[in-house]
Amino acid sequence: MLTAQVLYALTGCLIMALGLRTALLHASLLRRVVAINVMGTGVFMILLAIAYRGPGLAPDPVPHALVLTGIVVAVSATALALALAPERGTRR
Amino acid sequence: MIDVVSSLLIVAGVGFYLAGSIGLLRLPELYARLHALTKADNLGLGLLTAGLMLQSPDLLYALKLLLIWLAVLAASATSAHLIARHARRREKRP
């Protein structure tokens, strides 16, 4: 078992849980959006840890491709969520 | 010989980074911190890139290093200016 793989994967789990908790509990919508992004970060970290094979070895490219598109999709989903925020509706 | 020079440059660069962040942490107010930061991280990165440039495998790599340093230099000057102006306006407003 690779120590780095374990370290990054478990940290990913922790970050995901922290993000999920805030996304469920916090009152501010903007904070919830940040929290969902933090949660996504945890998931990305888990996936990249799974792909890691150790120093000097080529990692698995499939999770890399997943995370790469995931980052771009996450930011556009964030933008959609922010555009839907009620503050904007009242200002129009 | 080249290794010695680039080691010295890298060590000096890291030293400036550390000095800059200690300044950022210890100096009492925003404008003093700004001063410490802009001086130190520009020099820090500058020396580091100079050290790495001596080790660079090809010309493109060296050019990228130079571009990185110039970009950070410009970014650092601009953002220091903007942050200082922003802070001054905030002070005047209330």
Partner: protein
């Protein structure tokens, strides 16, 4: 050179830690932005050292993008909105 690079990365890591303390401590938003700026520059330096250490040449491109976008955070932070809506 590899040993020196490792030490330099750890040196930059401690510099980053100090910057993080300032980000957490503030007190003002401007102080935090300054520290974010420092973290960005330190991150660029670390990527430049990690590239040869991990045998990943492409990390210099990551550093290049971070360097080109180093000012964006501060600019977005200080940017003043137009008075009227887009037109």
């Amino acid at each position: 050179m590899s040993e020196l690079y490792s030490l330099a990365v750890l040196g930059l890591m401690s510099s980053l830690f100090l910057g993080l303390l300032r980000v957490l401590r503030g007190p003002g938003a401007a102080d935090r932005m300054l520290a974010v700026q420092l973290i960005g520059t330190t991150g660029v330096g670390m990527l430049l050292l990690l590239g040869p250490l991990l045998g990943q040449r492409a990390l210099i491109d990551v550093a290049l993008i971070l360097a080109l976008l180093a000012a964006v955070a501060a600019i977005a932070f200080t940017g003043e909105p137009r008075e009227s809506r887009d037109d």
